[in-house]
Symmetry: C2
Subunit: 530 residues, 2 copies
């Protein structure tokens, strides 16, 4: 199969553009064929107009039809076979084994959301039946459920070229909710984006859906993304990437005449706190686990533990060389693209330049620059320096972490209180440690969306209880998650139907409850009919 290099606008290829680009393989530093055409303002308009038109039809489809579409997308992605994995490998440098797993996760997410909408309780259906004889005034019949917002703009992420890109979690959850999707493809993996977009386009056609339900727009500049977020037909934005880009989208969306929600997952240091007992009991094991978690995916996970807090003392002094040794043994590996790798090395240099920050260890093997490789690096600093230097509160994407020494328990708490918002926060402790860690947990709860005990934050489960979203700047909206079945809640708003004739009600609000969805009926949860 050869790649055409065009944006896909509601099933049609966009025309050529004066601005073009090529993917650069991080494995070789060499450009990959073919040339890709950037989306133009008129492409943006065409995609969103088509999405708006498709919305009327798509949002009115039954959950069953939408579920079949999601499952068909999964099937078509699998049908792309090795070509998808090979192309993605070339574009991202990610190992084939990882990509095979990520493809499985991508299909799993599509199927999960199919299941979520078939089951139906996500619509939070509520029915208050009429009380015609109530005094002083009768109560009308009120029925409320979640309905889709409208066209959603999704930005593909570079670090999950399948699971958080064209057909990733944002797209799957938005399509499940009943929203057409326009994806802005990440320019680091345009070939993978085109292949997956082709799969979605085929699935839409096979399911007899309006083609406007999905479009892919290529772009390397912020302008394309901002134009998408500002288009009047866009009703919400899903984004995973840098703080700067996420904030720019957030600001653009909020300065519209009609603001729209932006769910941007941006930046997190994922602090990991080692309590004294755990440090004494299993410092070596924690050091090894930390190295693995920090270097997993070459440190390019949003949940990479980039901060470690522990209290100074004898056990801490024993712990440092263990961690140093683990980092020295870590093998350099290829990052996602040259830009990320350059930023990483620039960030390392900046950290080294800060007074009070020591570079304590690095991979002994030198990274191969022509293979876009990055070495693992461990920094150490004290709590006063950490609180003072704002650069130490910013995420550095790559296999690096910073160990911060607290002088005592109070200093540890002060460190936690100085943190910005985080996706995750982790505590390692013995049973005794944890029993006395009430203040630590209470403080961390204000800072993060997910708290982990005696584990590592990398590895984000896709399940009902997952929360992947935390206080700003981790995300722009800590009230929602971008991973797990609750991610569908981002793309809907409640509508109340008062005194509606039965035939005009959505199926799931009708007396008979034909699908048997869970509903709050006069204050009681039930799957029963009215």
């Amino acid at each position: 199969m050869s790649l055409h290099g065009k944006s896909i606008l509601a099933g049609h290829l966009a025309g050529p553009s004066s601005a073009t680009f090529q993917a650069i393989s991080p494995l070789t530093g060499q450009p990959l064929e073919p040339t890709f055409h950037q989306g133009t303002p008129s492409d943006v308009d065409a995609a969103l107009q088509a999405a708006e038109n498709a919305f009327q039809i798509y949002s009115a489809l039954s959950a069953q039809k939408r579920a079949e579409f999601l499952e068909k997308i999964a099937e078509e992605i699998l049908a792309l076979g090795d070509e998808l994995l090979q192309r993605t490998h070339l574009e991202t440098g990610l190992p084939l084994e990882r990509l095979t797993g990520e493809r499985g996760r991508t299909m799993g997410q599509l199927r999960l959301f199919a299941e979520v909408i078939r089951e139906g309780s996500w619509i939070d259906a509520r029915i208050d039946t009429a009380l015609p004889d109530r005094q002083p005034l009768p109560r009308p019949d009120l029925r409320r459920m979640m309905l889709p917002l409208g066209p959603v703009v999704v930005f593909g992420a570079s670090n999950f070229p399948l699971a958080f890109s064209v057909a990733g979690g944002d797209t799957a959850s938005a399509l499940a909710a009943g929203c057409p999707v326009v994806v802005k493809g990440h320019p680091a993996h345009p070939g993978a984006s085109e292949l997956v977009a082709g799969a979605i386009t085929k699935a839409a056609a096979a399911c007899g859906l309006p083609a406007g339900v999905f479009s892919l727009i290529h772009g390397t500049t912020p302008e394309v993304g901002l134009a998408l977020a500002k288009h009047p037909a866009a009703r919400a934005v899903g984004f995973t990437g840098s703080h700067r880009a996420g904030r720019a989208l957030f600001d653009a969306a909020n300065s519209r005449p009609e603001p729209i929600p932006v769910f941007a997952e941006m930046s997190s240091l994922n602090p990991l706190i080692i309590l004294p007992g755990a440090l004494a009991e299993r410092g070596a094991q924690i050091a090894e686990g930390l190295k693995t978690s920090v270097t997993m995916g070459v440190g390019q996970f949003c949940t990479k533990p980039g901060l470690i807090f522990a209290i100074a003392g004898e056990d801490f002094q024993k712990f440092i060389p263990l961690l140093q040794k683990a980092f020295q043994a870590a093998v350099p590996a290829t990052m996602l693209h040259g830009g990320i790798c350059a930023s990483y090395h620039q960030g390392l240099k900046h950290l080294e330049s800060i007074t009070g920050v020591q570079k304590a260890a690095a991979s002994e093997v030198e990274p191969a620059i022509d293979k876009t490789q990055a070495e693992a690096v461990l920094f150490i600093t004290d709590s006063a320096t950490f609180r003072k230097e704002s650069a130490l509160h910013e995420e550095l994407f790559g296999p690096q972490t910073l160990l911060v020494t607290a002088t005592d328990e109070a200093d540890l708490l002060a460190l936690i209180q100085s943190l910005n918002g985080q996706l995750t926060a982790t505590v390692h402790g013995t049973t005794t440690d944890l029993a006395g860690a009430g203040a630590v947990f209470a403080a961390l709860q204000q800072k993060a969306g997910r708290l982990v005990v005696n584990g590592f934050p990398t590895g984000v489960e896709v399940s009902p209880a997952m929360q992947h979203g935390g206080p700003y700047p981790a995300t722009t909206d800590a009230r929602f998650t971008s991973v797990g079945s609750a991610a569908i809640q981002r793309w809907a708003r409640p509508v109340c139907f008062q005194n509606f004739p039965a035939t005009a009600l959505p199926e799931d609000l009708q007396d008979a409850n034909p699908r048997g969805v869970m509903r709050l009926l006069n204050g009681q949860l039930t799957r029963a009919a009215v």
Copy 2:
């Protein structure tokens, strides 16, 4: 009981301020004693610092304790007796009977949210138990629930001096969620605000709560409100008022280094569509109902039907004089304050000046200017003028409405599509009308948060299925409601606890489920233990 005229900061009276004001009774146009002191920047800081300190303790209280606090507030409000009703009547001109009912609603809301948190399912508890043997990776134990955001700033509304002011729906739901509240009192009824704030303060002391759980700050300028919304300790804002003020708060909150959510309920025309069969069958009844709904509370409800759409024809020609007659018979009444009354009359003048808009009827009795009275007014225009003139798309607060003539069904649909976001939209129709109104319902669903059939939008039920919130500019966040039990969802965010020791888990996530709250346990809703 004499009024002190000071802001109440965490149980203490604020010092005097150089800027003072008095309430002006709309019934007489005369100032009322005493003088009130505006909040200063240091008052704002003191209130929010105290709220932040109180948050740690208050948010950790059991639902039972918080419920008792809400019920105690209701009790203390009732204990204010006639003095509260009399003072509020003097400050707002609202009849005592209405205020008695509104006090009942206020206490009802406090008790409703006490019930909501005792029952507990609002926390959306989700538990995925560990799967240690899962391949290729084990699943950790994940438990997720909603936790309070932190200090909430609430702006009292002028049109519900009890039910949407100091101890109104925003305050009740935020306190229920576990958030301390700082209220910016509406300057039109500072005496009522002081009395109710005193009741809350007494209730907090009686329940042994930190006084920082509640503060009241007086202010007549936008600066006080903006300072509250920009304070670093503020975590969310609840507001009911004008589009301009709501947008200013929204913009201020979003331009913070860490943006916070703003739930502003701002502006809605609440279109009411009369389909041909209904117009023919019961035009007189609809005309009378419309007059009642438009003039209820002197047109000062956010759900007042300010727009009527109907298709031209013989029945329409018969309907106009019926509506005219009803409006002519409407008796002028006192508005909430001089500013609103002046804006109303200015708005009427502006409407009269628009080419294509006819003033079709007005109250025959002249309004008494010294009693801040407003007359009911009916305007008529055609669909082309409506679509062209942006002023016709803006809410005019007061007993006025605009009847818009559509040429045919397609023109009616085009009218609906030209609408901004609305709180409500209403359709009157016969069974036959409604059976053929699919396109009308589909279009309205995109425009409003609540759709009403054969009723009137005024009268907002406080119940689980209510939705009071719609697309911008009706509200800044259509995904939430400010009325009904779901209003509590605005003040919380989910937190996931991974592999937590049982004793460190919040009670409602523990295996035993001691309160028996509804939880999603491995994908199944149940009140059972794990």
